[in-house]
Amino acid sequence: MPYSPDYFKNLAKQIRFNLSDEEALDIANEFEVLLDQMRLLEKIDTDQVKEMVYPFEDETSFMREDEVDEVLSLDQVLLNAPNSRNGFFVTKKVVIS
């Protein structure tokens, strides 16, 4: 097992979710195959090759006037909020004295 289950638990914690012991163990076991797959990339010579970020590299963005198009009302924006008050999202205190 190249990485311990705890390694993956920590990895998950950094992107804000928890893994159960069983789940972390499953991922640790499966990672062996995944790393073998990833090693298939090592065989390929990529010296002097530029990363490809998007399929096409032609310009599709442009400058335009800042015109009002479609606007959501405050009520519409807050429609999906779990908790809101006076036009604000409400959550637990962020700054604690």
Binding site: F8, I15, Q37, M38, T46, P55
Partner: protein
């Protein structure tokens, strides 16, 4: 029967009611719908639409990633189980303007992340050809709704092969056009550099017609293309004389199923008899083996970043916690399914500073080499052709074979090459495996050559005679 035939031979009420009744009757067997939309207001609004509109009063479904104002759009996830769209996706507007009646949202792998439809929060979608088998994914709900005769068109999305693989497993046509051909504005993303809007139909003519409705530049999606939209369906030609099909020998060598191979060779003979030229294409074998891991790295890394906004604070399902971080962690833990959590962990691993160079950036470089290889191959032929899969749909709980085998890495997963390149690609019905399950044929053409792709597909359809296939489900 084409969409135009349906529109001309039934009333709006007849076709919409029939679709809803059938979708509801099939639901216990297929589990394809996530929610239904009351069509009455949309039908009223048809007064503002010309009766000549291409999809006048045609019932359709949207994959549960596509926003439609006032409807639930859950991404087939738990974390967005209560999310009501505040606006329309661009394609929703285009479909409504063309007269379509949206009857509901179809199940998919959560956020489109999967190839089985097993990760949907509402459970697996079942294949109408064998209810003990998976639909394929991620656009599985849309695929089986078209295959079982509920609707004649449904929207999907395709990041690796998420339209083209379920199309193969369900004996229908699945189209993924050129990257940027259809706006993605208002659609929950998976991996932005690979995501395409796609769709399902039951014949090639309808596939050409639908792209006329969906394609076109959208300033709200900065990756959308400026190119004009031709009338693909009016320009269709099944003439194959002199057309060059590039047979990818790497894929053929990886396919071990003699029944599928035999039918593929029969198809090639039929194409030749119609004047087509068959060209042997040998892609770089190391690149072909690296395709799936390259996809995993790029797709999961982009997904991890894209879905960092799902925190339970501003929208979606929220779990309690002692502070903001705790709320986020609890909401994301409960809101993401096990398989999705695993994908995010892989994505996060690839994005780690110490792994970025040899994994993420390496994958992006390998992607370029794969695309260069495909582009070179497409300079020798009009389309690359190969069976879309080694076999029909797997059983629901079937475990994968050797994940380092060519059969798995290439035969089952090569279609991502069209996502890397952004080139148009489609699957259409072509064969049945030894268990009488459908397997599709896949075509990939050069950038923006959708007309050529539809023409070649029409030529294939005239050989196979497999169009308008419907597999009724006993309710």
């Amino acid at each position: 029967m084409t969409i135009l035939d349906i529109i001309h031979t039934t009333t709006v009420d007849e076709r919409v009611n029939q679709a809803i009744t059938k979708a509801k009757a099939n639901q216990s067997q297929l589990n394809a719908m996530v929610n239904f939309i009351d069509p009455s207001e949309q039908i009223k609004q048809l007064n503002n639409v010309s009766k000549d509109a291409k999809l006048y009063g045609l019932p359709i479904v949207l994959k549960d990633l596509v926003n439609m104002k006032g409807t639930l759009t859950t991404g087939s996830s738990k974390i967005l189980e209560n999310y009501v769209s505040p606006y329309n996706a661009t394609i929703t507007n285009k479909l409504i303007q063309a007269g379509a009646i949206i009857i509901g949202k179809s199940s998919c792998d959560t956020f489109g992340m999967g190839g089985t439809n097993m990760t949907a929060a509402t459970g697996p979608v079942y294949n109408p050809y064998d209810l003990s088998r998976m639909s394929g994914g991620s656009s599985g709900g849309s695929a089986v709704l078209v295959a079982s005769g509920v609707v004649s068109m449904a929207i999907g999305s395709d990041t690796g092969d998420s339209v083209r693989k379920p199309a193969s497993f369900n004996n229908i046509v699945g189209v993924k056009p050129t990257y940027g051909r259809i706006s993605r504005y208002g659609i929950i993303p998976y991996a932005s550099s690979l995501d395409h809007v796609g769709y399902f139909t039951r014949n090639v003519f309808d596939a050409a017609l639908i792209l006329e409705v969906l394609a076109g530049r959208d300033d709200k999606d900065m990756t959308s293309l400026n190119s004009p939209v031709p009338e693909y369906s009016k320009n269709l030609s099944a003439d194959l004389k002199g057309k060059r099909f590039g047979v990818m020998s790497n894929v053929l060598n990886a396919i071990k199923n003699p029944v599928v191979l035999k039918q593929f060779n029969t198809l090639l003979d039929q194409l030749k008899a119609k004047g087509a030229i068959i060209v042997d294409i040998k892609l770089n074998e190391d690149l072909m083996h690296a395709m799936l891991p390259t996809y995993y790295i790029i797709a999961n890394a982009e997904a991890t970043a894209n879905h960092s906004n799902l925190d339970g604070l501003r929208f979606g399902m929220q779990q309690d916690g002692k502070d903001v971080e705790d709320i986020m962690t609890h909401s994301r833990t409960v809101g993401f399914g096990k398989l999705i959590r695993k994908r995010f962990v892989i994505g996060s691993y690839a994005l780690f500073i110490e792994n970025q160079e040899f994994l993420f950036r390496k994958a992006q470089k390998v992607r370029r080499l794969i695309v260069e290889d495909i582009t070179k191959a497409l300079s020798l032929c009009d389309a690359l052709i190969a069976p879309a899969s080694n076999q029909g749909a797997l059983k629901i709980n079937d475990t994968k074979t050797d994940q380092l085998s060519s059969e798995y890495l290439i035969a089952e997963n090569y279609m991502a090459l069209a996502n890397f390149s952004g080139y148009p690609s489609m699957t259409l019905p072509f064969a049945y495996d030894e268990e009488n399950l459908p397997v599709g044929i896949n075509l990939t053409c050069i950038r923006e050559a959708e007309q050529m792709m539809f023409n070649l597909a029409l030529g294939i359809e005239s050989c196979t005679k497999l169009k308008d296939q419907i597999k009724e489900v006993q309710s």
